[in-house]
């Protein structure tokens, strides 16, 4: 499996009233061909900004990509002309957003929204585009597609709109789809439908996916590899199985422990991560998670840990105590 997308030291800043915020602070990660990779973290951790930076959709003047490279099929997207980037956006790399209603045009018919991209990117006739649009709707499980093409977004339910977004994303046979919280706004049973659909289509069409989410359950079921982000940095990465079975960053561990699970006996009390997420305008020199960390040592406050390998298989963690974490976990587990 070759590397499709390689993000190197990507740094994106925003100017806010409180000061300059590094929303993505030197992050590096990659996606292989046909692979599903997750970026997990809470609001403000930089996961969405990472995706927007890849698409060069960070809005100036407040937002700016200040460093790094985004290699897609070997070409640095950050060095492309605007025109060349337009050829990639929507065609080779497509995006699916959380709230489909705000990303669909309310005054254009479903058919027109689908055919527009096809005509522009693929240079096909309106008639061919119309036919392909019908096929796409059928592919994402929207029945009666001929009639549906003439309808407008408000006539679609939330689940149908997200199917429509997936159809739009797939329209030009992209090799990568960036999905930003694709099911967060949907009901549980519809969420399951959409995720199964995305998984099935990505396998069948061999499309790679980057799923951005805060939901650890979604990640467990659908991702091959996982990057955990906190305060603009990646703090841990590994295969989904390795990361869940053997978390080596206190933040990952905290996230996994704080959620109640249906497959486990009910606990008398939940184990939250104490404290609040940090103010990104006031990050110190140390590890950003240290003030909330149960495992912190003196070094954590003054020196920021870098990602280092843990065992094998590409598992990395940015924690000074990573090597001791499994023993510490065993101890605290025995204590509670």
């Amino acid at each position: 499996m070759g590397v499709l997308l390689e993000v190197e030291n990507l740094t994106t800043e925003f100017v806010t009233r409180g000061g300059v915020v590094r929303a993505a602070d030197g992050v590096s990660w990659d996606v292989g061909e046909g692979e599903t990779v997750a970026l997990v973290g809470e609001s403000g951790c930089g996961k969405s900004v990472s995706a927007l930076s890849i698409m060069r959709l960070v809005a100036p003047p407040a937002g700016r990509i200040v460093g790094g490279r985004v290699l897609f099929k070997g070409r640095d997207l950050l060095a492309l002309s605007d025109e060349a980037m337009r050829q990639i956006r929507g065609r080779e790399i497509a995006m699916i957003f959380q709230e489909p209603m705000t990303s669909l045009n309310p005054v254009l018919s479903i058919g027109r929204q689908l055919t527009e991209g096809l005509e522009i990117h693929l240079g096909i006739t309106p008639r061919e585009a119309r036919q392909r649009a019908g096929e796409l709707l059928a592919m994402v499980g929207i029945p009666d597609s001929e009639r549906r093409l003439g309808q407008y977004p408000h006539q679609f339910s939330g689940g149908m709109r997200q199917r429509m977004m997936i159809a739009m994303a797939l329209a030009c046979n992209p090799s990568l789809i960036l999905a930003d919280e694709p099911t967060t706004a949907l009901d549980v049973t519809i969420q399951a439908q959409i995720l199964e659909l995305m998984k099935d289509l990505s396998r069948r069409l061999a499309v790679a996916m980057l799923i951005i989410t805060h939901n650890l359950g979604v990640v467990a079921r659908y991702a091959d590899r996982v990057n955990v982000m906190y305060a603009g940095r990646i703090v841990e990465r590994g295969t989904a199985r390795e990361l869940y079975a053997n978390p080596r960053h206190p933040y990952t561990l905290g996230l996994l422990r704080s959620v109640p699970r249906l497959d486990e006996p009910r606990r008398a009390r939940l184990d939250p991560i104490e404290g609040q997420p940090p103010d990104l305008t006031r990050l110190g020199a140390g590890c950003a998670f240290a003030p909330r960390c149960a495992f912190q040592v003196a070094r954590c406050a003054v020196e920021r840990p870098r990602l280092v390998p843990i065992g094998g298989g590409g598992h990395v963690s940015a924690c000074w105590e990573a090597a001791n974490l499994d023993r510490a976990v065993a101890r605290s587990g025995a204590a509670t």
Partner: protein, 326 residues
């Protein structure tokens, strides 16, 4: 007061909304948001009310609070039927019932400080008329919800999401309510903060003997916090029982599908798990299906389900479900 009687009893609650037929035309219709719902909550208990958007769970809560007047049915709170009371008689009752909303940002006045927000109900209800005593009470309430005295001078936008929800909880606690309706209180919060707020709600319940109606769509959270759970679908309760029976031995096919749709944060387990993925979508409450409202999506429906409205009947002791096949 009789402490064995339930604190709240909802009997055959019906709430219809009339839509369309107005200025801009459109066909007039009736949305059956809540369609013959009955349950009770004992003092100190937490009843979880789960279901997907549009199932009527929030409307049920609003009818209890008398923010919506019921079309039919009774809301018996501390022995009195609230649906028969006028505004003046309701005012003292409203103190006893409070609500915590999903999004504390839109339910807190952005121009008021945290201190003013929490003090307002104390002044309005005349609970603590003296300003100095009121300030002391605000400090005490901030302490109960894990905030510091200096937070009283801040504005909502200066707080994090979790801190804002703590302010919402302090405001609800201020009037010393008996019942708190928690309407998706953690679903807008980050994962690491959700657990903090759930623990806080449990601590406060133990400390002040609170009774909760916990309205949510997250089944894992509902399992953690509830003593009993009711599952709603399209305006009706389809299953109601104690927590253990509902999660260990669900009877209604909708409950089973909901439970199966929740992804479990363990890739090894997920890989082997069989999933019941429901087809279709929740039908419109304007035009609900005949018979059992769930039959068009039900994986085990038979012909009878199309014509017969299933009764919510006791299938095992204390475990009721509305399914003819259960």
């Amino acid at each position: 007061m009789n402490h064995d009687a339930p604190l709240l009893e909802v009997r055959n609650l019906v709430k219809h909304f009339h839509v369309g037929g107005g200025l801009f035309g459109g066909r007039a219709g009736v949305v059956r948001a809540v369609d013959d719902v009955s349950f009770s909550i004992r003092r100190g208990e937490t009843l979880g009310l789960v279901g997907e958007s549009g199932c009527g769970k929030t409307t049920t809560g609003r009818c209890i609070l008398q923010l919506e007047r019921a079309t039919r049915g009774k809301i018996v709170f501390e022995g009195r039927d609230l649906t028969t009371l006028g505004e003046d008689e309701l005012r003292p009752v409203r103190r006893k019932m409070q609500v915590i909303f999903q999004d504390p940002y839109s339910s807190l006045n952005p121009r008021m400080t945290v201190g003013q927000i929490i003090a307002e109900p104390l002044a309005v209800h005349g609970i603590v008329p003296d300003p100095a005593q009121r300030a002391a009470r605000v400090r005490e309430l901030l302490g109960h919800v894990g905030l510091l005295p200096q937070h009283a001078r801040r504005y909502p936008h200066q707080l994090s999401g979790g801190q804002r929800q703590r302010v919402g909880i302090a405001r609800a606690l201020a009037v010393e309510p008996a019942l708190i309706i928690c309407d998706e209180p953690v679903s807008a919060l980050d994962v690491s903060i959700q657990a903090q707020i759930i623990n806080l709600l449990e601590d406060l319940q133990a400390q002040f003997g609170l009774t909760y109606l916990f309205v949510a769509h997250d089944l894992s959270v509902v399992r953690h916090i509830s003593d009993r759970v009711a599952v709603m679908y399209l305006g009706k309760i389809v299953e109601i029982t104690d927590r253990k029976s509902l999660y260990d031995a669900p009877l209604h096919p909708y409950t089973k599908a909901l439970l199966s749709a929740v992804p479990i944060p363990d890739p090894a387990l997920e890989a082997q798990r069989e999933r019941v993925v429901l087809g279709g979508e929740v039908p419109s409450a304007l035009n609900p299906p005949s018979g059992c409202v769930f039959h068009p999506r039900c994986p085990i429906a038979v012909d009878r389900c199309r014509g017969e409205v299933p009764e919510l009947r006791e299938i095992r002791p204390g475990h009721r479900a509305a399914c003819i096949l259960a």
